[in-house]
Symmetry: C3
Subunit: 202 residues, 3 copies
């Protein structure tokens, strides 16, 4: 027999091919699974960024930065949620209603700003002079008024949520609140904040 | 020699099998390593969610939302840490102690609420009338009192930390602080906040 | 021919090896690709941790915790950015300038602290007595003064940003602001906060 017999070579070739192709199928399946998992893992962090704010104050100089950041973030395509609780809920008021309220609820209604238009600043208010001055300076610098900032945020897709517990406690009715506002409790806030990239308090 | 010699065929068969199983073992080991790494990577984001709060205020309307969120988050199985610094430390007081303090420390002790029961609200306090009204409205709406909210948070596993620097500065002794409170500095706060999903300030 | 001819054995061996290595090259290439992807995925979360703070207050008891946390975080190797807006911008003032300002701007300049040295506390200020007492107690406890805390933060690499909109609105000139401060708008803040591990408001 010739040592370099082509028949021998061919035979071995074929044998290896056969034996391997069985194994190859197995490997290919495993490779596919791994590549799928990798694709999922790489895709994961590409979720939309989100800002969630907790607003407990009602003053112009607290609400204004909240909405300026909300509108900025929304314009960058971020999800934006603002949860209003305690004094903060006054930023969502459309009007004040007195009928059907207890005396305590009427007193609280009277003492709090009936709409964002009438809110004051937290420092240097000086019986309203400071607030008026600040509003004038905002106007001179082409900064939107607070009501405009709030309207704009809704137009840009920000979600405004009013705290139901606060409403119950202060006797605020849904009639007094803007129509584009959702209602929720602490569970709603925590859920919204859990997947937020940025969490802020005002 | 006959090429189709069954002995030669058998020999070749065996040889291919051996070499192949060697290679296959190698590949299997590699697959195992990869699958382990993938499992680790997929498991990574499934850590417990965590809320860390920095409390610098002592007023009822700042402390109350902090503990309502703390208790809500804890009930969802989240880790909760509250770090109390500056005025905030008054929320952790059990009583006020005067003996052994300097005059300045006594003055500060006198001017700050001796326990969370006696704290006031930050707006519309009106010499205490507003605070009493708010407490009444909380009661009428079945909202726990502040001391109850604090006790509940501890029962639910929230970690309360008192800022040692503030205690040193204001002359507050460990004797004045609740027994279930830990003590720590700015490093403790930063460590707690680093792995938090939600970071808040009150 | 002798069947156990070592030359034949060697030849067959070589043939099988060749054939196998050809087939397995493909697999090896796939393994390499997968391992590279895994390495990238594992490396991803090892970015530097970052704290971004939004400072809207000017009082000593708001600015001080902000800078104590800033300096603590920086000392742990974290990235630190502080964005100062509204009243907060006063923490960045070097001096007050009156010439060239409108009457309203002069009034605001007059009413706000001209430097961090002269800022007050937000509670128990008592016409300045409380602030002085707090400064004395800080000194007795070897806590740096506010101006020292600010200088230290810059030395440690914290980035201080002044809100341009606030400066325009309040008529604050760059001349009045520390030299080591950058200027930016809401977009700058959102960008800085987007990749932060900890976001705080003061």
């Amino acid at each position: 027999m010739e040592f370099n017999d082509p028949k021998l070579k061919e035979y071995i070739d074929q044998l290896v091919d056969e034996k391997l192709s069985e194994k190859t199928k197995e490997f290919s399946a495993q490779f596919d699974t791994i590549q799928n998992t990798l694709a999922t893992l790489k895709a994961a962090p590409q979720t939309t960024e989100k800002v969630t704010m907790l607003v407990t104050s009602f003053e112009l100089d607290k609400i204004m930065p909240a909405f300026i950041i909300a509108n900025g973030a929304a314009s960058f395509g971020m999800d934006v949620t603002l949860f209003f609780t305690l004094w903060g809920i006054n930023a969502l008021k459309d009007k004040s209603v007195y009928s059907g309220k207890t005396i305590k609820e009427k007193l609280i209604t009277m003492m709090l700003p009936s709409t964002p238009q009438t809110t004051t600043i937290s420092r240097l208010n000086m019986l309203g002079v400071g607030t008026e001055m600040m509003k004038m300076m905002m106007k001179e610098n082409n900064i939107e008024t607070l009501p405009d900032l709030i309207d704009l945020s809704v137009e840009m897709g920000a979600k405004l949520i009013a705290c139901q517990m606060t409403m119950g406690m202060m006797g605020i009715t849904t009639e007094e609140i803007r129509k584009d506002v959702e209602f929720g409790g602490v569970a709603t806030y925590i859920e919204e904040a859990s997947d937020a990239t940025i969490t802020l308090t005002f």
